[in-house]
Amino acid sequence: MPLILNEEQEMLRDSARGFLDEKAPVAALRKLRDANDPDGFSRDLWKEMAEMGWAGIIVDEGYGGSGFGFVGAGVLAEEMGRTLTASPYLSSSILAATALKKLGNDAQRQENLPKIAAGELLYALAVDEGAKHGPAKTAMAAEKHGNGFKLSGDKTFVADGHVADKIIVAARTAGSPGERKGLTLFLVDSKSNGIEVERTQMVDSRNAARIKFDGVEATGDDILGEVDGGFGALEGVLNAGRAGLAAEMSGASQAAFKMTVDYLKERKQFGTEIGTFQALQHRAAHLYSEIEIAKSAVLKALQELDDNYGIAGAVCSLAKAKVGEVAKLASQEAVQMHGGIGMTDEYDIGFYMKRIRVAQEMFGDPAFHADRIAQLRGY
């Protein structure tokens, strides 16, 4: 498959760009933040997005989705990255939708996918338990209890966990922390007894949660996929999330870079536009190259998720690793080249730096993913 968007995907991108520029510019995020909005996103906007088919972007049409696949999902993520749109898109429409689509049984799909596509319920994925990502480190216990299980343990950095109606949670039915075997995924109601959700307001003005599970009951029907074999299944879902985050960061980098190049053309110092200074030109040209190279990795990851879901892990790590570094560089150069004004809260560039920092950390930072690639290459 050629490494470019097809016509349909291009149309999706163009219409998304128009919509987001109008409805969800950075100013919208700023407003949510300044108002200390309890959700951290606009439910009205989310409804509109769902109506356009975005919430069910990867959900098959039979379940009410628009069946675009991962490339389409990435196209939207990239556009949302440009404008820093806050929404439960990543958690519900990429992570949960992937999990249910790939792991759910008939009943689970029937029950959940239409609700995801309609934007009717919100979902979250709870994996991390410590400061750094590492699914195999999962310690949360899922102890046998009658015919079902009791879940106990603490989850952190659960994106959109503060608003989620349902939570997909990774717990240990066997083995010990560090082992890949013994993980199982459960889909539980966030209102279940024993669940305590603490909203955490993050650097990027978006929200996550720390969630305590204290003997939360789950039945066999709540299991997503196989018992004890959840590591590989979880990795698949995480890969989709990683590629989605990479696409989002790619969009954010491009937008930050565009603001910077525009500023270089306009801002005058020493009697000339600062864009005439060769040192800045070379740094901008280098950054341009890095951004282009990162874009290729992102598109390939999304295509692989569509075409070879089972073995897309390496290239998803590539995308997350590469874009993570490039996005960081893009936000740093943006602030530095803007000078003092880039440091002010009034100017938008700081929002990019903050979102990029959080997205870069989520589901594995560049070091985590470079390490994966090194392992796969045998060193």
Partner: protein, 403 residues
């Protein structure tokens, strides 16, 4: 016993008797425990007030300044001993201010006796708090293109214009300002360095909120602000010669570079380091090495650079003492120190992971590390950008053509 040894003994005894217990926790409170002084200052405790009073009486808030101007009149060696003895009991600095760091040195070098006698003692006693009016919205790196207008109205000066990035202007009493006194002169000429009382109509300030969420800087506006030709008999409002304020400004910029470059070193020896945070957050393998080998490599490289940088500051000081070295190296220290500090904060954020990404709440003390990380991004902008420092190195040290 040599004089210096006698002095050390005397200092030790005096500090032991006069430094309040509560003031012996240097470093613990971070920026929040600094005493800035000024008319509007509220002491955090009686101890802080007593400590300032006692030190000011000895002239030890500015130990190297002449006694007649409120200083301690100490020699370099004596200052070193005083600082060492203070460190030994973890005594806080009694007073910090732009008056001490910036205006004081400028007046000592360029001021008249009358100016020094009038302005320095209140700085030394922490009675008057100063801020600095240099940058303007359209004169950032290109400071010399400043536009703030200062007209000669016979018995007074009349100032109109705007300054930006004035640190803590909203809490300061007086401001030292670079103004254009000769609008026809070319860029670097026609600029004067003037001292302005902020308690008057025509001077107003507006805090600038930074990406860190804090507002350490302001915009300062001058609308028909008047300044008497003399603030007191024989005390000119202008420092140095009229239209030659650029010399004073350049002197202070070099001074500021050294301070900010040095600021890097403060964080280098600060309590937290990327390696420690990482060891705590990501864990160590059986060999005692970080599990995250990628992060480990970056931290180690930053530690190598950081240590070598600290040694370079030491070397530059020793060279200066020996009369060697070049002043332009302050640009090198400023450039390298601030870039390094940014790297270290990036690594601390990497090491801290999602735990340090919480912007609000107890656990992170309202995102202390994250806000600090964002604050460091200004290090390579304020006091002359990294790009300006590299230009200076290329021109003054490497003598490259056209630089």
């Amino acid at each position: 016993m040599s004089d210096l040894e006698a002095f050390r003994k005397e200092v030790r005894a005096w500090l032991e008797e006069n430094c309040p217990k509560e003031m012996r926790d240097a470093g613990a409170g971070g920026e929040d425990s600094i005493c800035w002084g000024g008319k509007r200052w509220t002491f955090e405790s009686e101890a802080q007030k007593i400590w300032l009073g006692r030190m000011a009486e000895k002239g030890w808030t500015v130990p190297s300044w002449p006694k007649e101007y409120g200083g301690g009149g100490l020699s370099k060696e004596e200052v070193k001993i005083l600082k060492a003895e203070m460190r030994a009991i973890k005594a806080r600095s009694p007073l910090e201010s732009f008056g001490i760091w910036m205006l004081g040195p400028a007046l000592l070098k360029y001021g008249t006796h009358e100016q020094k006698a009038h302005f320095l003692p209140p700085i030394a006693r922490g009675e008057i708090r100063w801020c600095q009016g240099y940058s303007e919205p359209n004169a950032g790196s290109d400071l010399a293109s400043l536009q703030c207008k200062c007209e000669d109205k016979g018995d007074h000066w009349l100032i109109n214009g705007q300054k930006v990035w004035t640190s803590y202007a909203d809490e300061a009493d007086w401001i030292f300002v670079l103004v254009r006194t000769d609008p026809k002169a070319t860029k670097h000429t026609g600029i004067s360095f003037i001292l302005v009382n902020m308690e008057q109509d025509g001077v107003s300030t507006k805090p600038i909120k930074l990406i860190s969420g804090k507002s350490p800087f302001c915009e300062t506006f001058f609308d028909d602000a008047t300044v008497p030709k003399e603030h007191a008999p024989g005390v000119s409002a202008i420092v140095g010669e009229l239209n030659k304020g650029w010399d004073v400004a350049k002197y202070l910029l070099t001074h500021e570079r050294e301070m900010i470059g040095g600021g890097g070193s403060a964080s280098l020896i600060a309590a937290r380091s990327p390696g420690e945070i990482a060891a705590q957050k990501t864990g160590l393998d059986a060999g005692g090495r970080l599990d995250d080998s990628m992060l480990r490599a970056k931290i180690a490289q930053a530690d190598v650079d950081g240590w070598a940088f600290m040694l370079t500051m030491e070397r530059m000081k020793d060279e200066a003492k020996a009369g060697q070295g070049t002043g332009a190296n302050s640009s090198m220290l400023k450039y390298y120190g601030t870039e390094l500090n940014k790297r270290r904060y990036e690594l601390m954020m990497d090491a801290g992971g999602s735990d340090e990404l919480e912007w609000e709440g107890e656990r992170t003390k309202d995102g202390k590390l994250a806000r600090g990380w964002l604050r460091t991004k200004a290090n390579s902008i304020e006091g002359g950008t990294s790009e300006v420092q590299l230009n200076i190195i290329a021109k003054r040290i490497l003598e490259l053509p056209g630089a």
